[in-house]
């Protein structure tokens, strides 16, 4: 693409003009082909499984929270991944990273998972043991934990949806002006009188900054509250101020991993390869490497305190989450140790050993493979944390009396996993039919602000930073 001054636009293979870009992102990519219809149909049908699994769980009773341990694993895994992925988009947007522009929409669109997370959170609140006797944040406050936890979840989900709505407004106006049928009327209702005046753009920029900052602060605090109420305080003697930070960071790590996989799928199956180029994969693989290092850093900081202290209740915590029951001779027959091995192996060791090489970071396939590895590691990690802490039937006290057996996952747990993932995929694909996977207004702006200029005997990429 040649700009008005003869410089070449940087987005590789991007359409030559703004009209062509609009044509591709507004008309072509919003077409619902047979593959998309099938994906919508399958994910929509499979969504029902989640509610079937939930019903089966309720039918088997709510009095014993230890039988819900894998429900907690599934819930907090899906919650961590899907609420962490918008963080990757929002954080880079606030940092004004130019390369992330084509990827922001696909990251922020995951905020649509919020209502699903909210629905499946209700059983967690109902089943978890009451806070009496637990060393909770709430000092036996009568309304805790349901009141502050619901407010926290509503805040996070609401802020995510509000941020998504504001970021979608200009593209909804484009669909309102040029779309057809039901999609056009939905876009017209949502975009109302967005005309793109200077004052509207000024507000839009401010709102994205304010709501983005709110999402980040709500995200951190939600992880503090949930990790404390539904993991840490279930285990007598587990007092770890680093754990909520670890929980939040691993959520962002899994979110970044899912974003890379999403980009790869959109590139291969969605025909959007020109928007998800090497530059984007390279950028996110560096972020993923940093987050994998953070995984180890936070885990180690917490572990070393417990390990050095050697107090009996702290050794019990190490046994529950790392080494397994010391009474068993071989560590490889201890489920807790195998979970830990899977978590640290897939969340830190393998990603680190692979992503430390620039040649792998600077590719499309390797970061995607590492993304899959990190998601597997994340599941092991949430299993390590929640399957074990929800297996503890002793509420209160200064330390664990014994290391509990871990209840195995059941068919309803599998149904809930499939159902939650499918319902989020269904909503994600459904909303993408109205606004697409790539932000039109941001990509347009990127075309205006980035050029390749002759530089010596070669060329240099020039990014205009207008603010």
């Amino acid at each position: 693409m040649q700009n008005t001054d003869g410089n070449e636009a940087v987005i590789p293979g991007a359409p030559a003009t703004q009209e062509d870009l609009t044509q591709e992102l507004l008309y072509d990519s919003l077409q619902t082909g047979s593959r998309m219809r099938k994906a919508l149909l399958i994910s929509g049908v499979l969504s029902i499984l989640g509610f079937v699994g939930l019903f089966m769980h309720f039918a088997s009773g709510t009095s014993d929270h230890t039988t819900w341990n894998f429900y907690a694993v599934v819930y907090f895994y899906v919650f961590s991944v899907t609420m962490g992925i918008p963080m990757a988009g929002i954080g880079l947007r606030l940092a004004r990273a130019q390369w992330r522009r084509p990827t922001s929409r696909s990251a922020e669109l995951f905020a649509i998972a919020g209502p699903i997370n909210l629905i499946f959170f209700i059983p967690i609140l109902l089943v978890a043991p009451p806070i009496e006797g637990r060393n909770s944040l709430w000092m036996d406050w009568a309304l805790a934990p349901w009141f502050p936890d619901i407010i926290m979840m509503v805040l996070l989900v609401g802020t995510g949806l509000a941020f998504l709505y504001v970021s979608l407004l200009p593209d909804l106006a484009s669909v309102r002006d040029h779309g057809t049928g039901r999609i056009q009327s939905i876009a017209a209702t949502l975009s109302r009188d967005w005309n793109g005046t200077k004052s509207q753009w000024s507000l839009h920029k401010s709102a994205l900054g304010i709501l983005g900052a709110f999402y980040i602060t709500a995200y951190a605090m939600t992880h503090l509250v949930l990790a404390s109420d539904f993991a840490m305080t279930l285990v007598p003697g587990w007092k770890d101020p680093i754990f909520p930070a670890f929980h939040a960071v691993t959520g962002i790590q899994m979110g970044a991993a899912l974003l890379i996989i999403t980009m790869y799928l959109l590139r291969r199956l969605g025909g959007l390869g020109r928007y998800f180029e090497l530059e984007q994969f390279w950028g996110y693989s560096r972020l993923l490497l940093a987050l994998s290092l953070f995984y180890f850093y936070f885990w180690w900081c917490a572990f070393i305190l417990f390990w050095y202290a050697r107090l009996p209740h702290e050794q019990s915590v190490i046994a529950l989450f790392v080494s397994g029951d010391y009474s068993e001779a071989s560590v490889f027959t201890r489920p807790q140790f195998l979970m830990f091995l899977g978590a640290i192996g897939f969340s830190f060791i393998l990603p680190f050993l692979l992503l430390m090489w620039n040649i792998l970071r600077r590719s499309i396939v390797a970061p995607t493979i590492v993304g899959v590895i990190v998601l597997i590691g994340g599941f092991f990690d949430r299993m390590r944390l929640y399957a074990n802490s929800w297996s503890v039937d002793q509420v209160g006290g200064h330390g664990l009396h014994h290391i509990p057996e871990v209840n195995a996952p059941t068919i309803p747990d599998l149904f809930v996993l499939i159902g939650m993932v499918s319902s989020i995929l269904f909503l994600y694909l459904l909303v993408s039919r109205v606004v697409g996977f790539v932000s039109l207004w941001e990509t347009r702006q990127a075309l205006l602000l980035r050029f390749v200029k002759p530089w010596g005997v070669g060329h240099a990429s020039v990014v205009i930073k207008p603010e």
Binding site: Q18, A173, T197, L203, S206, V225, Q445, P466
Partner: protein, 173 residues
Amino acid sequence: MADNKDIMGVFADVDTAAEGARQLKSAGFVQDDYDVLTGNPYPEGAFGEHVKPNRLFVFALSGGFVGFAIAFLFTAATQTAFPLVTGGKPILAIPAMMIIMYEMTLLFAMIFTVTGVIFESRLPRPSGAGPVYDTRITLGYIGLIVTTSEDRLEKAEEALKAAGAEDIVRESS
């Protein structure tokens, strides 16, 4: 003013739109007389237009204050209504109230911010009809919209055409 009318020049690119703004100034129009409609954000002042600072932060701050006040009163009221001494801490224990206050402050700040975006962006416009509009704006065209008295509309149209406007859109009477 009530008897003012809108007229808009539709431009294909930034340079001609900026030239349009220059022509308008030469024709005696001031910055407050015209606005720019675009499909994506441009740097402030790129067309020589005047952008008033927005007041969104006032909404966020007000919401935050309201949320904080509600949370403070609510937690204080419940703690004094059901006085339980826990761990030798005071009945009104601020650290235990802080998370609720944090949550409610952010929640109300978020709600007020979204309200602010809708209100300040005029989404929807309470008076009904908005300014003149052309759907090509969302295809990447740039609209230069002049709001002026009826007797100056011809002058505005001349300036817009002289700068190379592809089309002129007038407000229907």
